[in-house]
C-alpha cells in the first residue's frame, strides 16, 4: 500500500516568509509525528498527534512553529517568519497506534535564504 508522503519535496524561501509543509500518513494510522533533521545529525522530535489532537508538542522550538491535523489524517506543519536556522529536512512519520513502528516519509528539504 501507499507509504507516508510529504509535499513539497523541496522548498526554498526567503527569511521572514511563511511556509506550510504537508504530510499524508499511511491510511488508518492514528499517530503522526513531525521531526526535523539538520545536516549530520539524527532527527529531532517536534510534535506528535494522536488523532486530531497534539499529544506532545514539547519539541516545537518556539511559537513560530505550529502544526495541525484537523481531520485526524493529513497534517500541516506551519512556520511563520522563517529564519535561516530553520533550514533542515522536515520528516513526517506515522504509526498505527503510537507505540509501535514508525514509518517515515521522504521528507521536505527546507532552505531559508
Amino acid at each position: 500500500g501507499a507509504g507516508v508522503s510529504q509535499t513539497p519535496s523541496n522548498k526554498v524561501t526567503e527569511k521572514g516568509k511563511y511556509v506550510e509543509l504537508r504530510c499524508d500518513p499511511i491510511s488508518g494510522h492514528t499517530a503522526l509525528y513531525w521531526y526535523r533533521q539538520s545536516l549530520g545529525q539524527g532527527p529531532e522530535f517536534l510534535i506528535y498527534f494522536q488523532g486530531t489532537g497534539a499529544a506532545d508538542d514539547s519539541g516545537l522550538p518556539n511559537d513560530r512553529f505550529f502544526a495541525v491535523r484537523p481531520e485526524g489524517s493529513v497534517s500541516t506543519l506551519k512556520i511563520q517568519r522563517t529564519e535561516r536556522g530553520d533550514s533542515a529536512v522536515y520528516l513526517c512519520a506515522s504509526s498505527l497506534y503510537g507505540t509501535d513502528t514508525q514509518y517515515f516519509g521522504p521528507g521536505t528539504r527546507l532552505t531559508v535564504l
Partner: protein
C-alpha cells in the same frame, strides 16, 4: 536533545565483511528501533526490538539489546555496496516519540 549515541560515527569496510554498529542510551525504554537513511532523506525502518527481548534477526541483520547496560548493537553480515547508508538507533519516550542518536555512516566498498 538526543539520547542515543552511536559508535562508531563512521565505518568503512569491504564488501563481504560484517559491519557492527553500537548504540547507547540513557533512560528506560519500551523498545528500540534501528533505521537506515540514504542521502539524508527518508528513513527506512529495519528492525524493532522490545525491552524484554535480547536478540532479534531479520535477514542479514542481527540486533542485540542489553537493558542493564543500556546498549544495543546492529550487525550486518556479508555486507554489500548497497548497504552504504547512515544507520540510526532510536529509543521511544513514554509519549511514543522517538529519540535518535547521531548515526553511524557506513561505507561498503566493492
Amino acid at each position: 536533545s538526543q539520547q542515543g549515541e552511536e559508535d562508531p560515527q563512521a565505518l568503512s569496510i569491504q564488501e563481504g565483511e560484517n559491519a557492527t554498529m553500537n548504540c547507547s542510551y540513557k533512560t528506560s525504554i519500551n523498545n528500540l528501533q534501528w533505521y537506515r537513511q540514504n542521502s539524508g532523506r527518508g528513513l527506512v525502518h529495519l528492525i524493532l526490538i522490545r525491552s524484554n527481548e535480547r536478540e532479534k534477526h531479520s535477514g542479514r541483520l542481527r540486533v542485540t539489546l542489553d537493558t542493564s547496560k543500556k546498549s544495543s548493537s546492529l550487525l550486518i553480515t556479508a555486507s554489500r555496496a548497497a548497504d552504504t547508508a547512515s544507520y540510526f538507533c532510536a529509543t521511544d519516550a513514554p509519549s511514543g516519540k522517538l529519540i535518535f542518536g547521531q548515526g553511524t555512516e557506513l561505507s561498503v566498498k566493492p
